[in-house]
Symmetry: C2
Subunit: 445 residues, 2 copies
């Protein structure tokens, strides 16, 4: 069995800890069994491995913006399939399947597609094992996970199972209803309907057939090149709703989306993280990722979080509003985890004449290197404050270490490699300081 | 009449907006009549001028750490007397008096001593005028301001006036009781006692006589040189309690110390200042001096403030606790206003081997210069991002402008002057990065 983990999301609902490059599934806030902290995606992978359902391998389907975060969190060996552009779940799953086929996965092999940010008990992963066996035994073309509903929400799709017969914990699907109104939802609950948990199982060949209707040559390179020809549509609408052979495996355990402050803070085991002093606070969760201290006195039932992107102070119940409020704040991320390490923006200023300066602190991990790059509209000054490495400036290579100052004028090709953990302060200057002002080239170290 | 304004205080009670160099009286948070914002010290000076009691000049008595803040806020023409070390109010007032005498102020001239951070109505300044006249007419050696008490607090001194006779709105003082217990305070209220408002009036010569008991040569230079010989004691204990000729002028208007979050926020006319989004907040005051956005949702009856020094989120009623909580946070100030401009610390990092790097953004005001200085244990890299000026490195002078990068190794004598507003990023590196690692020299521009 192969597992495709879908990793997407813009993460506005957990602002300021999440941003476009650091979605909620990457926040290391949950208590891991060994006492350390783990993220949602790390937790799901750990649970998949513990349940023995990931033995044949995991593929993470994601966008280019999340590639480095996935690889940093799951290790360099994880298989990542990067969409050329973001086009919803049907194209993303099709591309990941093309990648599995290209690697030699047999078309008869069951594939599980699942979200990377569900907070569920171990029984959830046992249910995934049942889905796998149901596909293997040909119960249906597509096997869904049906989660026992707890209230008549209009946010999910509903699956009405046939009551008989059950094979391998799976029942045939009578009907599939996407996001009903609340009256319909209430009736569906009486009928014994289940929520669509967003977990799908099918044989690899089933999906490759569907893909071939849009792109007959289903080789990975060709699908990737012609990715924009795939319809921008969800897997539910494109595949599940049109499929006549559907079965469902029910799951009756804990199942939560920790995608809002209100739901996430329920799972945090400590009231405060970071440089925080709490005094007389109740039912309050404080996360401070800034280095400056935060003092909270007498807060009741609140969520308080600070990161280089901003600060939220919210009553818990109302914290979902953040999603809409931060639409007004569509700024560059001030903190990113990249494949080579991390950076944070420590200061940004625009002068009356439109000239800008942006100061970052960057740390490269040992053995990692930046791409060989140049910028067309900014100069950079790098002051090395820790570690050792090598810099290349227009082809000329030389060592750098703590105390060195390097000036990189616009147009100069440059790259940097860390021998030890290497930290420097970068001052960017110019009139258009955007991450996109970068041309990348190959460099043979 | 001369006015001596006492400017002191460490400002822990308004943390994080105030710090040791930016005490509460310098926070520009109050609404000025012209619609702009003014600080407590600016408000007091404006009111003194409007009442016509400052016509003969104001002297600000303060410590070296506040010299630049006073001069930035009150303008370059203000007369500042800086104590060589901080030694409480008796020595500070004595030094300021020596300075007045040295300038040629007649010994018969009435002098008013007052705090710089009282929030009071115009009637308060009219009462000061009455105190002046009472001294002029010889009603007593020392004339105090008596504020009408509103509750039996143990925090103030109490003045019991004789009921008759009154001359120039002044009554003789029957008794003077410093910080009574609460039962005593209650009785004092029945007796018609008044709070000691911390405003004193006397003839210059009276104070010079007292000073001469400790330092017979009362020339300003000599008093300043022998400042440490003056007793470290308050004016109340050293002078008022021992004086047999005391009178009091009552003041019945508004009189408040805006020195805590709880009292200060009552006077703020807007619920939010800075980069703040408020949603559904009630009775909440938010001040964000950071550049990153702050979003507050559903906060009730809170004080929320952020500065480069830290962040407070507190229920209003409990906000006085901050004074004790921040004792644990005795860090360097992250933001200071100096005579030459401002700086803020934008990043500070210590590596496992004890080596530190501290990154600042500094802006020099046009025409201003740093002292000619050198550091014994840090190197500095300056990247100029705006403006033009001149730099001197070991005696060699040259122009600097946006884009220039200057390296200043330890031991190198350096100074900088701004021709226009001049902004640069400074990266300090070394093992002991403290403001005190500085030797200052003279430089003739």
């Amino acid at each position: 069995m192969k597992v495709i983990l879908l990793s997407g999301g813009s993460g506005k609902r957990l602002w300021p800890l999440s941003n476009n490059s650091r979605s909620k599934q990457f926040l290391r806030l949950l208590a891991a069994p060994d006492g350390s902290k783990e993220s949602m995606i790390q937790r799901v992978v750990r649970q998949l491995e513990a349940a023995g359902v990931a033995a044949d391998g995991i593929v993470v389907a994601t966008g280019a913006g999340q590639h480095d975060a996935v690889s940093n969190q799951l290790g360099p060996d994880v298989n990542i399939v990067t969409e050329p552009t973001r086009r919803r779940t049907f194209p993303a799953i099709a591309l990941a399947c093309a990648s599995l086929a290209a690697e030699g996965t047999p078309l008869s092999e069951p594939v599980i597609v699942m979200p990377c940010d569900t907070y569920a008990s171990d029984a959830y992963f046992a249910a995934i094992g049942s889905m796998h066996r149901a596909v293997e035994e040909g119960v249906a073309d597509i096997v869904l996970m049906g989660v026992r509903p707890t209230f008549p929400t209009t946010k999910y799709g509903y699956i009405v199972p046939r009551t008989m017969p059950w094979r391998n914990n799976a029942a045939a699907v009578e009907r599939f209803i996407e996001k009903p109104d609340v009256d319909q939802a209430r009736e569906l609950l009486y009928e014994g309907a289940l929520w669509n948990g967003g977990v799908f199982a099918f044989r690899l060949g089933y999906m490759m057939d569907l893909l071939a209707r849009y792109i007959p040559d289903t080789s990975f390179a060709n699908v990737r090149a012609r990715y924009s020809e795939l319809p921008e549509i969800s897997f539910d609408y494109e595949v599940v709703e049109r499929c006549s052979s559907l079965a469902v495996v029910p799951y009756y355990g804990e199942w939560r989306d920790l995608g809002t402050w209100n739901t996430l803070t329920d799972e945090l085991t400590e009231p405060a993280a970071g440089n925080v002093i709490l005094d007389s606070c109740t039912d309050t969760c404080v996360i401070n990722e800034l280095e400056i201290p935060m003092v909270c006195i007498g807060a009741k039932d609140m969520v308080i979080a600070a990161s280089p992107d901003g600060i939220i102070v919210s009553e818990r119940k109302q914290s979902e509003k953040i999603k809409h409020l931060v639409k007004e704040l569509d700024k560059r991320p001030m903190y990113e985890e990249r494949r080579w390490g991390i950076y944070k923006v420590i200061e940004s200023v625009e002068f009356p004449d439109g000239f800008c300066a942006l100061t970052k602190q960057l740390t490269l991990n040992p053995g990692c290197a930046l791409s060989y790059q140049r910028h067309s509209s900014r100069d950079e000054v790098w002051t090395f404050i820790n570690g050792e490495g090598e810099i290349v400036l227009d082809g000329e290579r030389k060592p750098v270490k703590r105390g060195d100052v390097i000036t990189i004028p616009k147009g100069c090709l440059h790259t940097l490699r860390a021998n030890t953990s290497l930290t420097f302060i970068e001052v960017q200057q110019g009139t258009n300081l955007i991450e996109e002002d970068i041309e990348r080239f190959d460099y043979e170290w």
